[in-house]
Symmetry: C2
Subunit: 357 residues, 2 copies
């Protein structure tokens, strides 16, 4: 029923842009569009008691997913969930310490711990995510596409080995350096789990799937090509069989765009350290591009924000042979809690206004 | 007396490499080589009572500068100081909160505050730094070059406007976006101060000068070219009159290497997100290169570290037409407190052993 061409969202700006088809205006959604910068999100979270209680409750996850769509004419919704649901379901014990970000009770540090990992069952251990997708898809305007997502294997492995965030990723890089075979076994099982997870979100009703390689950019080129890129490529290729567009977003992925353009993904999401003009020229029509305004530009005043939006739209067009086709407007990273919703409104408005034909 | 060609360090490996002359082995020094990973550093700091008390005392600054040279056959010493001495001398009130990094009591947030800034006097307000350079130069082996340093204008401005570290540099980017003229006035006065500061370090006895553009890489290309690059270029050009080699290090500077190679600097320091092969090929003999092993590789075992050192040395050679000339080995960023001094020893040893002819 959600399958591709007969879904009401099939001809949405967002899905058309991912197919590089003509659109009446450039579509826009924003990473972390459901988040703490919205007072209604903070209220839902406070009522839920904790971030995890909210993320694990399909009705509350649905509520916060829909909140930004009620405020702004966004062109896609994205499942509200945590990036670490998969390792949590693998038994690592996800928890949060206020102000410190996510942590695992049982990080994975050696070959023995890695050998014990298995792909979780999606309809039992991750049922709350599938239920959230089904609930959102039922409540969301049928014409609006819903994006499912997962962390990339390398990014999930960073958290799984470090046990939380890290300044220099010393533990996960030491594992990769001292025991590359164990590191690859870890990435293999996580990749299997990510593919199953994204396929389950697809089956539950998501129209597009995004992989967040948040920490790929902390690697040297040799290590990126060994420990992140091959797993991203496998995900893109295996999900393609499902006939669902796949977006690979990576912070710091600019040095690897040529590899990513050849990965089989439908779209590549880039941060603001590369111009869309340069990225689009190198893409040369092979894939769609998503991005890439520096989120900190939202701290500027609305006039400055509108000028930045225009420059971003024009940068893509200039690199794409004069056409705006194949561009999904987004930030180069997520929104922050101290951002002003009115500035977000100006951004979304300007994307549609300036790109309209 | 410290001037160029008659100084005992003139024919050191390090200064020869910066001039792209032949060397018997590739020189190596390490960013933050004087630091908390050394027990003798921790002892000096504990006795001093605080980081700032140590940094502001020329004898203690000399002591910690020399400590890594007593352990490892490093090819250069680098002045021990704080990156924020210049804004502190401009009246911002530097202080440290344990575990939170540097902060300013009086951050600079608007055009009025910027208009009040002036270049500090080097031999009064920053005399403790000049004294530290003189003391170190007197105590250090005359054959070992001493590196003076400063933060880059953009990087200093980040701390001055944010009032400390930042996740997304929202305040400084908002200033640049909302009032670019004020931002440029801030960068102008800071650049004047940095040039005076580095010239004073040169006059006090430093044989080379490094500028740390730690936060240049957080900018979009358009903003980097507006707010960081022109000021780096001015520093390189104005210091060149002093006949002293200048190294411009920048985290995330790989997209701008062609601009930096043309900046007038003698050497460009790069992080590990670009291969030295690629950087050297693009430099094409115009400048020396410094870098670029991922510091996290020091968490690997000594055999793995040695293999990584070899790969880094060979990467430079492969991009430099088969020659090791013009390479100063370094990390791509600083050492961390939890690193093992024995691993640092293996790294330094392998650089010299593998590159020796």
């Amino acid at each position: 029923m959600n399958s591709a061409s007969n879904h009401p969202a099939f001809n949405s700006r967002f899905l058309r842009a991912l197919r590089r088809e003509t659109v009446d205006a450039t579509p826009v959604w924003l990473m972390r569009q459901a988040g703490r910068y919205l007072p209604e999100y903070r209220a839902t979270r406070a009522a839920a008691g904790s971030f995890l209680a909210m993320a694990k409750n399909p009705e509350l996850a649905c509520e916060v997913t829909l909140q930004p769509l009620r405020r702004f004419p966004l062109d896609a919704a994205i499942l509200f969930s945590d990036i670490l649901t998969v390792p949590d379901a693998m038994g690592l014990g996800l928890y949060f310490v206020e102000g410190e970000g996510p942590k695992f009770e049982r990080p994975v540090r050696d070959a023995a711990a890695i050998a014990n990992l298995a792909v979780p069952d999606m309809e039992t251990e991750l049922r709350y995510v599938c239920d959230a997708v089904r609930t959102i898809r039922r409540e969301l305007d049928p014409a609006i596409p819903l994006i499912g997502f997962s962390g990339s294997p390398w990014t999930l492995a960073c958290y799984m080995v470090e046990g939380g965030g890290s300044d220099n990723f010393g533990k996960v890089k030491a594992l990769a350096l001292n025991d590359p075979a164990a590191m690859h076994r870890l990435l293999e099982v996580v990749t299997d789990a990510v593919i199953a997870y994204l396929s389950a979100q697809r089956a539950a009703g998501a129209q597009a799937l995004q992989v967040f390689d948040t920490w790929g950019g902390v690697l040297s080129p040799a290590m990126y090509r060994a420990f992140s890129l091959p797993y991203l490529t496998r995900i893109a290729r295996e999900l393609k069989r499902n006939d669902v567009p796949v977006i690979l977003f990576g912070k710091g992925n600019a040095p690897y765009l040529d590899d990513l353009f050849a990965s089989g993904a439908d779209a590549i999401g880039v941060d603001w350290t590369v111009t869309l003009e340069d990225a689009a020229r190198r893409a040369n029509g092979r894939v769609a591009l998503q991005g890439n305004l520096d989120p900190a530009m939202l701290y500027g005043n609305p006039d400055a924000i509108r000028a930045q939006v225009q420059a971003t739209l024009d940068s893509y067009r200039d690199g794409n042979g004069g056409s705006r086709e194949g561009h999904v407007f987004n930030l180069g990273h997520g929104l922050s809690p101290d951002m002003n919703p009115e500035h977000v409104a100006a951004l979304v408005d300007e994307v549609h206004r300036y790109s309209a034909r």
